[in-house]
């Protein structure tokens, strides 16, 4: 077979076989028992040339309704933020994207320094003392945090707000299933159309659930409904019970909202996709993980640290490896090996470009625009408010028709509608979670609101 990716020519192959001292390719594989050898071709399609591949992929991509031409009002943990073009120009430098994990620090200072910068930025945003180099996503980061807490406190239950992203909770359940750690969910305050509640964690129920087996309390802010939780009070409760407070926070919101660290959280985790990473149909994402000092040596994953070279110059290495699987094996803090380095680099470059001011501006515009959209939707009379608390970028309304129907109709208008909360919250049947990022213009929001209103009134065509 001739492949442009395999440089060995037929003549070279012959010469090399001879040099190795075998007569044929077959002989090289003689260690494989004959009965195991595949006697036929794999049943996969014939190879495509690059041009053919490209064409086939174009026909596939045409079946996707992506957010470059559809207006996206969907969030629920993954957000359609503006990504400066410069980001990709950096991350597509081969020196970064074709490198392995920086095991040889002297030729990996690029990625190592960028991780160090990333760790710093995450620490700054979250108000924490240290952060690791990345985890797979926000959900697995939460799982790792719960594990850390249970081991650190030597306790076996985590209390998780039900206002935490359902996807995270699902991953948490699977992950902890065989670990002996139990999960108890704490309800949020939900009212009625007449008597709205805040949509935040029910602190009465929380208080009641805390006991001497509580390893950690997990709260998300802004929570899954976009609503800001009172991390401070909750962390005081945790502290009082010698439990850890794990805060799940959106990094964009931290441009404006008080950091979980300052509010008393012990561990901050979350999804850093919004920092310059495309939505990628859900992957790769970027789990961040940051802690206060006492937990540093308990962190999962890679950590870059500063050191000096033999001439005394500053340099960076992977450090605290005694925590890791390749040293500690079954006693490691985590099994993670390959993580999401390039996504962390992406976030670092994004944050560098946005800067203090840009990040704040993004956060502010998310607030302004979601507020604008919320009010406009209510004004149509076709959607009702559900909670009565301030929100960030995302809010819940109850439209006159089901979110499912609404979304389907909107799609035919090239609008990707909000998230149907009924799936995860039976008590929020008919409720719709709408996200509005800085990318949405007033005109687009107005269009969206108009369409929603029309559809609720019986369809686009009336």
């Amino acid at each position: 077979m001739k492949s442009s990716y395999i440089p060995m020519t037929r003549e070279q192959q012959e010469a090399m076989l001879a040099a190795v001292g075998v007569n044929s390719m077959e002989e090289l594989f003689s260690a494989i028992p004959e009965e195991l050898k595949l006697k036929k071709d794999l049943n996969i399609p014939d190879p495509l040339s690059e041009h053919e591949l490209n064409k086939q992929m174009l026909t596939l991509v045409e079946q996707n309704f992506d957010s470059s031409w559809n207006l996206c009002f969907l969030g629920a943990g993954i957000y359609d933020h503006f990504i400066p073009s410069a980001v990709k120009h950096i991350t597509s430098r081969q020196e970064f994207y074709t490198a392995y994990t920086p095991y040889q620090p002297e030729i990996s200072q690029g990625i190592l320094q960028s991780i160090f910068e990333y760790q710093t930025m995450i620490s700054e945003l979250t108000g924490m003392d240290a952060a690791n180099a990345s985890l797979y996503d926000g959900a697995t980061a939460l799982y790792e945090a719960a594990l850390l807490a249970a081991r650190y406190t030597d306790r076996k239950e985590v209390l998780v707000a039900r206002s935490v992203n359902p996807e995270y909770r699902k991953v948490l359940y699977s992950g902890l299933k065989y670990s002996g750690i139990t999960i108890k969910e704490i309800e949020f305050l939900n009212g009625t159309a007449q008597d709205k509640k805040s949509g935040t964690l029910d602190s009465g129920l929380l208080q009641a659930a805390i006991n001497e087996n509580t390893a950690a309390i997990v709260v998300q802010s802004p929570n899954f409904f976009g609503i800001i939780e009172d991390i401070k009070t909750i962390s005081q409760k945790a502290k009082a019970a010698d439990a850890l407070l794990i805060a799940v926070c959106d990094p964009i919101s931290l441009g404006i909202l008080e950091s979980p660290g300052a509010l008393g959280a012990d561990i901050a985790v979350g999804e850093a996709q919004p920092l310059g990473n495309p939505m990628n149909f859900g992957g790769p994402l970027l789990g961040y993980f940051a802690v206060k000092s006492p937990y540093i040596r308990r962190m999962p994953g890679r950590i870059a640290g500063q050191t000096t070279d033999s001439e005394g110059r500053r340099g960076f290495v992977l450090t605290l490896q005694a925590r890791e699987q390749h040293i500690r094996r079954e006693k490691a803090t985590s099994n993670i090996c390959t993580n999401q380095a390039l996504c962390a680099l992406t976030a670092t470059v994004y944050l560098s470009l946005m800067g203090k001011k840009g990040l704040k501006e993004v956060a502010r515009q998310c607030i302004n625009k979601s507020d604008y959209a919320y009010k406009a939707l209510l004004e149509t009379g076709q959607a009702d408010g559900v909670f009565d608390a301030p929100f960030f970028r995302e809010f819940v309304v109850k439209p006159k028709i089901s979110p499912e129907r609404l979304n389907n109709e909107l799609l035919s208008e090239s609008i990707i509608g909000g998230y149907d909360l009924s799936k995860d919250y039976p008590e929020l049947e008919g409720c719709w979670l709408v996200a509005v990022t800085e990318k949405r213009t007033r005109t687009e929001i107005d269009l969206f609101v108009r369409k929603v209103s029309k559809i609720c009134q019986g369809g686009i065509f009336i």
Partner: protein
């Protein structure tokens, strides 16, 4: 070159901007009034204030201190650092793939679902398995997922006494770590004098407390476990399952299949075998395939085709649930899909053949100057030992650092743990014979120098941006972030 050691924070200038955003076009929300006390930040985070050109130069210059596959030879054993075709990057970067929201209506994402569906089929065929989940984000997560399935399987059969997972002493650290996280007790078994699983020891361990065995095959010495059928028979007989760590799948694509060897579960690292770039440490992708009996335990959702449409099927009562959000690292899966589509059956087989021939060629050309503890025909990689050189004070580490000065990424060192002064060499199929010859010459020259002038090899690297770094210091007094 200007030596610019500053961090991006140290280039920050108050008031400088690098962003370009539309002006706010809706009414400003009064933050203090809306959010009230204590909700807004007290102090600004120290995100740098730099211009676009500052950012581009800073990270471009950082990139120059990094080494990728496109820079040169990267024989990092166990990591399969093969060339990453450029077309795959282009396709994954298309708006129509990268700008898709995971929760949007699947009917509006049929292109992406079709890729997931077909990739399941392709990998199932390559692995000889029934079905594949693409959810795990990397090999280690694949392992963990597989081990949870083993657990779930035994529990579903009310066979709860099976608490042990056996791993060879040559195994990768993720194996025992994953087993532990899945709630198992880890039992190590030694390798025999041939470098393979010691059957006698295995015999003594196997009993009804064994949940399963994890194996890399070819193993981390680059050797095919010749007794694999015997091993799988033994494990199965005692009621355990077999887990295949597919990190070394690059040796046997289209030649032999874990399913046919008796494995029940197998992961592959798309970021190794299937040519997706490693990104300096991820994102990866570690799909796992399972045999028929285990399909019900796979994570949800599974993608199915119904009436010409692809759908997510969440209705799997025995499923272990979700190990990661959504459907895995989609864009990594996409690149691997493109790779398989371009290679076809013959291409994959040729790749494995060339990978194996390349490894043996280097092995043969180095065997007289380095010790090779298990020196026979290897698969796609082999492990040599610098213990002969170490007698003169030249360690595997020294050899690695000298390779840096010669323009190579060094082999994996000190792994597997069972070989002293290990140097694990995996050339992959994308390297030309000329590259191998040049590397061989360098390795031979270093072996020579280790005899004639060992001291000289202790100061490497000398040509890199930094010289040898003090790792002990980094761990003793950790500095993990910049402080203003």
């Amino acid at each position: 070159m200007i030596r610019d050691e500053r961090l991006i924070f140290e280039k920050s200038v108050a008031g400088r901007i690098g962003f370009s955003l539309p002006e706010n076009d809706v009414p400003e929300v009064d933050l203090a009034k809306t959010f009230g006390e204590g909700v807004l930040r007290d102090s600004e985070p120290e995100i740098p204030e730099v211009s676009e050109v500052d950012v581009i130069r800073h990270y471009t210059n950082l990139s120059k201190r990094n080494y990728g596959v496109d820079s040169g030879f990267y024989p990092l054993g166990s990591c399969t650092m093969k060339y990453n075709p450029k077309i795959n990057e282009d396709i994954a970067a298309m708006d129509g793939f990268s700008r898709m929201h995971p929760l949007q209506n699947p009917l509006s994402a049929q292109g992406s679902l079709e890729i997931l569906y077909r990739m399941d089929k392709l990998l199932s065929e390559i692995l000889g398995m029934e079905r594949v989940t693409l959810q795990p984000a990397a090999g280690a997560q694949g392992e963990m997922t597989g081990l949870m399935i083993i657990k779930a399987y035994h529990i579903s059969r009310n066979d709860e006494k099976r608490v042990k997972i056996i791993v060879p002493d040559s195994s990768h650290g993720t194996n025992p770590a994953s087993a532990a996280l899945a709630g198992f007790e880890v039992v190590h078994i030694p390798s025999d004098e041939k470098g393979c699983v010691d059957i006698a020891s295995l015999e003594t361990i196997l009993d009804d407390t064994v949940a399963g065995l994890m194996l890399t095959n070819p193993n981390t010495l680059g050797l095919f476990e010749e007794d694999i059928l015997k091993i799988s028979e033994m494990v199965h007989k005692c009621g355990g399952l077999l887990y295949y760590d597919g990190a070394n799948m690059n040796a046997i694509m289209g030649i032999a299949r874990p399913g046919d060897m008796g494995f029940d579960i197998a992961h592959v690292n798309l970021n190794k075998t299937f040519s997706t770039p490693h990104g300096g440490g991820g994102p990866g992708s570690g799909p796992i395939g399972v045999v028929k009996e285990l399909v019900p335990f796979l994570p949800v959702p599974i993608i199915e085709k119904r009436d010409d449409y692809y759908v997510f099927d969440y209705d799997k009562p025995l499923s272990i649930g979700k190990v990661k959000s959504f459907y895995g690292n989609f864009s990594v899966v996409l690149k691997a899909f493109c790779y398989i589509m371009m290679m076809g059956s013959e291409g994959l087989k040729s790749a494995s053949q060339a990978a194996v021939l390349n490894a043996n060629y280097i092995r043969k050309k180095l065997e007289d100057v380095y010790d090779i503890p298990y020196n026979r025909i290897c698969m796609h990689e082999f492990v040599l030992s610098a213990q002969r050189q170490a007698k003169n004070g030249v360690t595997a580490l020294d050899i690695a650092k000298n390779l840096l000065d010669e323009g190579y990424h060094p082999p994996t060192i000190y792994f597997p743990l069972i070989v002293h002064e290990a140097l694990m060499i995996e050339p992959t199929e994308t390297e030309s014979p000329e590259t191998l010859d040049a590397f061989i010459n360098t390795m031979r020259r270093l072996a020579g120098q280790a005899e004639t002038d060992p001291e000289k090899l202790k100061n490497a690297p000398k040509t890199t941006y930094v010289s040898r770094l003090d790792e002990v210091k980094a761990a003793r007094t950790p500095v993990l972030r910049w402080r203003p």
